[in-house]
């Protein structure tokens, strides 16, 4: 991608247009990985997809602690979120006791980045 394409001015969009994610569970602990589609977008993820914002996103689910591990080699990061699975796969009443769908809750978070970094139609 050329620099000209990147510099199209700021746009606010769901994280879904910037990054992909997968959820994993162990007991009552969830992890959400997050990877920028384009390495140029990684710094924006680091800046905007913070532990505090992820904790707020999952506050209604009782998230007690969020830790973020940065993986710059992969243009990615890993969130580890405690007590968010309502008892986990063998204890929850939620249809999705694994929390597998929560990767797309994360991808619904809005971010503001240069429009040139976004996938899909604006």
């Amino acid at each position: 991608m050329s620099q000209a394409e990147i510099h199209q001015g700021p746009a606010t969009a769901p994280l879904h247009r910037l990054a992909h994610s997968r959820a994993g569970d162990k007991g009552n602990r969830l992890n959400l990985s997050l990877f920028a589609y384009r390495p140029e977008a990684y710094s924006a993820l680091v800046e905007q997809v913070t532990e505090a914002r992820v904790q707020a996103l999952l506050a209604h689910r009782g998230a007690s602690r969020v830790r973020r591990y940065l993986m710059p080699n992969l243009a990615g990061m890993n969130f580890v979120i405690d007590d968010v699975l309502q008892g986990g796969v063998n204890g929850a009443l939620n249809l999705d006791g694994h929390g597998k769908t929560l990767s797309f809750l994360l991808l619904g978070m809005s971010v503001t980045v240069d429009a040139g970094l976004l996938l899909g139609e604006t």
């Binding site: 992909h20 990985s33 992969l74 063998n90």
Partner: protein, 461 residues
């Protein structure tokens, strides 16, 4: 020459025709190799124990016949070792199935290795237990305990292979250790060669969920395209003696192995990437790099290992009472209001029809369900008044009678609830809950024996 690790299944309930193309490719390449079936998770271990208390002969992987039958004859003929945790709660039962399938395949003399030592229930209360780091619950009372299984490492599986086992049957073993074992057996890696063990574990980690690394659980139309999801190729991991590893899949199959599919699986169920705990090694993948070498060929580098942890994770299953679910649909004009009213009526009824300690949750599928909490926080947000909504009740109680009563109250919405409700479904099941603890490695005695294929008598190792 690299060692090839084929993945035949990534969970209990996975596609049962996935292994055939893997085995065909392993035979075609003619290199040292093994085929691994990973079919045991926290959910399935609990399900296996639940099945076994209702039917004592059950408790192993229910799809074992269908998974093994298509490939067993070819694997035995070509010397492809099969390793699987399909023994679940009843490895002896699984061994009997493997024996029978082998007889049918013309190999009544099959050598089956059976791994012992994960079941520590009988000794549990005598052991020095600590809480797993994300566990908050104290050990349940003895009369509530259903089972206790330690996550074993690769050593007893290597022992089984050294005994000449052609199929290795295990219960609870750490998933990636199923893949590490044939590597250690083949390459002769030392048990303190941490970097190589870590690479082998990560080869296993990438392969243990089957197609999740080769295009499964990945597609997002318009963003992440995957061709051929209906004919996904399951992964083959090529591992070199120095620990270099490449993820690939059989030619002519659907799916894809790309930098992105591998990255998603690399961090799947990982917590601190600098300390991924396994029974065999603590893996540091914080410096991992992923590189596409060509179509469907991705190399993973930069994996480091640290000494194995002094304690092993143990899953304890205990009585969880009964769980029930019931659902009813409302569609068309004003459907949301009718679904909400149905939920309100149900709450009012349950307030006096069942004990108040009954745990319950109401979802409106189509508006808010899987993202929501048990109190329905997201459900209170506005949504389109017309649509296709499904009210779902989930309840839990130690006594079956109250769970039945609660779900029956949803059923009664047919005639006594709002207009136009339809499509009620109810289900009820006994619940087995799980909690995780740590036991001292030195308190666990893991070993392998060969099973006499004529019966289940064990030959001492």
């Amino acid at each position: 020459m690299s060692f090839l690790l084929g993945s035949g299944a990534g969970f209990s309930g996975d596609r049962t025709d996935a292994a055939a193309p893997i085995v065909a490719e392993l035979i075609r390449r003619g290199q040292p190799c093994a085929l691994v079936f990973e079919t045991l998770g926290e959910r399935t271990l609990a399900a296996a124990h639940r099945a076994m208390r209702e039917t004592p002969e059950a408790g192993f992987e229910p799809l074992l016949d269908e998974l093994l039958a298509p490939v067993l004859r070819d694997c035995l003929r070509h010397g492809i070792a099969i390793l699987g945790n399909f023994g679940a709660a009843n490895p002896d039962g699984a061994c009997e199935v493997v024996s029978r399938l082998a007889r049918q395949a013309g190999r009544p003399d099959i050598r089956i290795g059976r791994v012992h030592g994960d079941d520590i229930r009988a000794r549990l209360t005598d052991l020095d237990l600590t809480l797993w780091e994300a566990e908050t619950q104290a050990l349940p009372e003895a009369d509530q305990l259903v089972s206790a299984n330690v996550y074993l490492g690769a050593a007893p599986l290597v022992q089984a292979l050294e005994l000449g086992a052609e199929v290795v049957v295990t219960g609870r073993v750490a998933d990636p250790s199923l893949f590490l074992a044939p590597l250690v057996h083949h390459f002769g890696w030392a048990w303190d060669d941490w970097d190589r063990l870590a690479a082998g574990i990560m080869a296993g980690h990438l392969g243990e969920c089957g197609a999740q690394v080769s295009g499964g659980y990945f597609a997002d139309p318009g963003f992440k395209e995957v061709e051929g999801l209906a004919t996904l190729g399951y992964p083959i991991i090529e591992v070199e003696v120095d620990g270099r590893l490449v993820v690939t899949k059989p030619p002519g199959t659907g799916g894809c192995v790309t930098e992105r599919t591998v990255k998603e699986q690399l961090l799947y169920e990982v917590h601190d990437p600098a300390a991924y705990l396994t029974p065999d090694v603590v893996v540091d993948l914080s410096g991992a790099q992923v590189r596409e070498l060509g179509p469907d060929r991705v190399e993973v580098m930069g994996i480091r290992g640290k000494p194995a942890p002094p304690r092993l994770k143990t899953t304890v299953c205990y009585e969880g009472g009964w769980q029930g679910e019931a659902e009813i649909s409302y569609a068309g004009p004003n459907a949301l209001a009718r679904a909400r009213l149905a939920g309100q009526v149900l709450r009012e009824r349950l307030a006096f029809r069942v004990p108040q300690e009954l745990r319950k949750r109401l979802d409106i599928v189509g508006h808010a369900s899987v993202f929501d909490d048990d109190d329905g926080t997201l459900q209170r947000e506005p949504a389109a008044p017309d649509g296709d909504y499904r009210l779902r009740l989930a309840v839990e109680h130690p006594e079956r009678v109250w769970v039945e009563r609660a779900t029956q109250e949803l059923l009664a919405l047919y005639c006594a609830g709002p207009a136009g409700g339809g499509g009620v479904r109810r289900q009820l099941q006994r619940r087995v809950c799980t909690a995780s603890y740590l036991v001292k490695r030195t308190d666990v005695e893991a070993f392998a024996t060969l099973v006499d294929s004529g019966s289940s008598d064990h030959v001492a190792s």
